[in-house]
Symmetry: D2
Subunit: 146 residues, 4 copies
């Protein structure tokens, strides 16, 4: 039985996974045969705030943000320095608990994972598209204090 | 003179770069010294539609979409197959022209670049956050027809 | 009981894994706790010859070579074009069989994996250091004939 | 005039670049048009010894080694833990000087670059194949002492 789960995608509970600009999810007893694709991301930067536990009891997810900086040179010689804040989500059980316990605000970290797009409802009840990096691995560098 | 360009970020014209959840841009004669970070993405998949030329005469940008698929296994044994549509933007002059001329809908392509977040105004005039992959390189595989 | 297997490392049979310049292997009931490291490679290029089945009945391994090209500019304005031949080894059972059956000489392919160093004995019985890319995934592009 | 430089490849002086199993280099006024390939490596681990300055006055190169660890599980349940020592070479002028001055033995570092194969002559005058990672970027994490 194959059907599109319009509302809650149990695995991505934190994202309240309605089909969004970025993603459609179909569910079946076995994954349909599709051509191989690649979706890999590596970010390395400072953590914005202590990680948060979200989602539900059955489907907990830990989220945190990481900042990266990019320098651009304008034709007029000026430089632009852009800071991008990435939203990281961790579903893998052991990795999730380790991140929640040990990763701290200001710490330098490296995340390897994949990009996914979904929709979240903000405090005012508005539907907003959201982009997350689902972590396959998270590396810690010296904790923030030293 | 360092100031935040609230409205138009000449380089990312296509994104109408207001400071968004994901990015703040400051401009100066030379980039402020910041700690090195990493922001690298590799996606490989099929092109959603023929690339489009956007932006302005002075700051043209070519955009196209690429689909990637990910299989997830639920605890109950069901499989979820998720298709994510990535928005790719190309600023590099030569790369931009090559993509516009030769990349076609349905073609398989690989994009190496970085993630950036901005805001775009949709047809209804609503501010929407947008995520783009700024391409450093684009590889073509067999054109879509054969 | 922890001991160094000087001679044959069953998993990497094809490399006759004597401790080499590049690698020392220790074996134990559980892996010793070590600091996380990263060793990821992505190569994309043409296959040099049809893949070969090597190793033993218990530990088969499939190997093939892939060529990549790099352009260098000398100070005097000349360009150097360098072709590097990478040696790929595939241990993963399903991936191994698929590569052996379907990947052909001249075909374009992408390999994601990690670098490892070992020693092999050439036809003249000399010990030679060897570098291999252990494939985690192999993507196929159009077969070589069309 | 296109010819194969059998002996010294000025840019890769440190490798005494004879055509080796892994590489052939041709030189010309402009690089021959070849199909795009990909050759990207990311390693992250501890530095083996303080970086060394090699090559010649005109073509200096800085080299250092980095260790990465991989865990393998045998069919009999035993674990193998493999340490691979990677040889990194840095040609980029600024990056080269920064690495030589600030990178220290025992420090954790991340290198992004490409793999290349060459031949070096050891102290006994024997020709040996060598694998190096040519660094495009090197990130430093906390110096080794704290």
């Amino acid at each position: 039985m194959q059907h599109t789960r319009r509302m809650l995608n149990p695995l991505l509970t934190g994202l309240r996974n309605l089909p969004a600009r970025g993603a459609t999810t179909t569910t079946a007893a076995a994954p349909a045969k599709v051509e191989k694709t690649v979706n890999t991301v590596t970010i390395l930067g400072r953590v914005g705030a202590d990680p948060q536990l979200r989602g539900s009891q059955e489907h907990p997810v830990v989220t945190f943000s990481v900042a990266t900086h990019t320098n651009y040179k304008y034709e007029n010689g000026d430089w632009a320095q852009r800071t991008d804040w990435h939203r990281v989500v961790v579903f893998k059980p052991n990795l999730r608990d380790t991140v929640l316990e040990y990763l701290k605000k200001g710490q330098r970290t490296m995340v390897q994972g994949k990009i996914t797009y979904g929709e979240i409802t903000d405090q005012q009840g508005n539907q907003k598209t959201s982009t997350s990096i689902i972590a396959d691995d998270v590396l810690f560098f010296r904790d923030a204090n030293n």
